[in-house]
């Protein structure tokens, strides 16, 4: 018995593409601007939380955009550009920035007992009116004090509004890990904000240091 001849084309069928890839550099650039550059603010905010330094954050974002642009042909239009860009940014940060970053010291999770803020303030300020008194910079400072793993999860989910699934993909961890990092990250953040609000006299409470 003879072997079956190979099919006429041994190439796997190419996935249906809604439109042919852009041909001119202008079309390529326009596509990139429409789908990638719109996420610039997100990339910059995430870069700032990772590097804790505006000039490093700018360099990191610029390098990310350059790399993304160079591999733009590998991106499928209409898929998750934000996640794709953030993955590039994060790898770049880990490989080239993390070592020399002078990120301020983060809280030591083993020495801090995070608690549920609501239980602490439900008698005094259950509507959370004290939140309004805390300035933006203090909130960012509190986020920056979170250990990196929690800071990333909180930033991608709570600040940038990504789903558990999307966050898991960017961080390359299971969804369950995202959930537990978010839980602990939020608790830690609440603990920091509570301490700050108490130290400023926004609420009476009793500092949990």
């Amino acid at each position: 018995m003879t072997s079956t001849p190979p099919p006429a084309s041994s190439n796997p069928p190419s996935p249906p593409s809604p439109e042919s890839p852009p041909r001119t550099p202008e079309e390529r650039r326009a596509g990139f601007e429409q789908e990638a550059l719109v996420h610039l603010d997100t990339l910059y905010r995430v870069a700032l939380r990772l590097t804790a330094n505006a000039s490093d954050a700018e360099d990191l974002v610029q390098e990310t955009m350059l790399r993304a642009y160079r591999s733009w042909d590998r991106y499928t239009p209409g898929t998750n550009a934000k996640g794709w860009l953030l993955t590039i940014l994060r790898h770049l940060f880990i490989n080239e920035y993390r070592r020399r970053s002078r990120h301020p010291e983060t809280v030591d999770v083993d020495t801090i007992e995070p608690f549920a803020l609501f239980q602490e303030v439900q008698e005094e300020d259950p509507q959370g009116a004290f939140f309004d008194k805390i300035v933006d910079d203090e909130v960012l400072r509190a986020v920056d004090q979170l250990p990196e793993a929690f800071r990333e999860a909180v930033t991608l989910s709570d600040v940038e509004g990504m789903s558990y699934e999307e966050v898991a993909k960017v961080l390359d961890v299971p969804v369950g890990t995202v959930k537990s990092r978010l839980y602990r990250g939020r608790r830690l953040l609440q603990t920091k904000l509570y301490d700050y609000a108490v130290s400023m006299g926004y609420i009476k409470g009793q500092s949990k240091k």
């Binding site: 439900q122 960012l140 986020v143 600040v159 939020r186």
Partner: protein, 74 residues
């Protein structure tokens, strides 16, 4: 559903990551349980507070310009 179970799913519920069945159960519990309702409202406020305050900042205009110039050179 008991309060304990309800609060256990608090963040997943607020993050819209629960099944429709669980969502219905939780919503029904919150509606008839003032303490849980207050707790959920507080956490909703907290998450909104973090989002709004941390999103106040965007990329500087100079960065956008630098990137656009860089793309033209590629």
């Amino acid at each position: 559903m008991r309060c304990r179970e309800c609060v256990e799913h608090l963040y997943e519920y607020l993050d819209r990551e629960v099944t429709p069945e669980l969502e219905t159960e939780i919503r029904a519990h919150i509606q008839k349980c003032p303490p849980c309702s207050e707790h959920f409202d507080f956490e909703t406020l907290f998450l909104k507070f973090v989002r709004v305050r941390c999103r106040a900042q965007g990329a500087p205009a100079t960065l956008r310009r630098r990137i656009l110039e860089q793309l033209l050179e590629e």
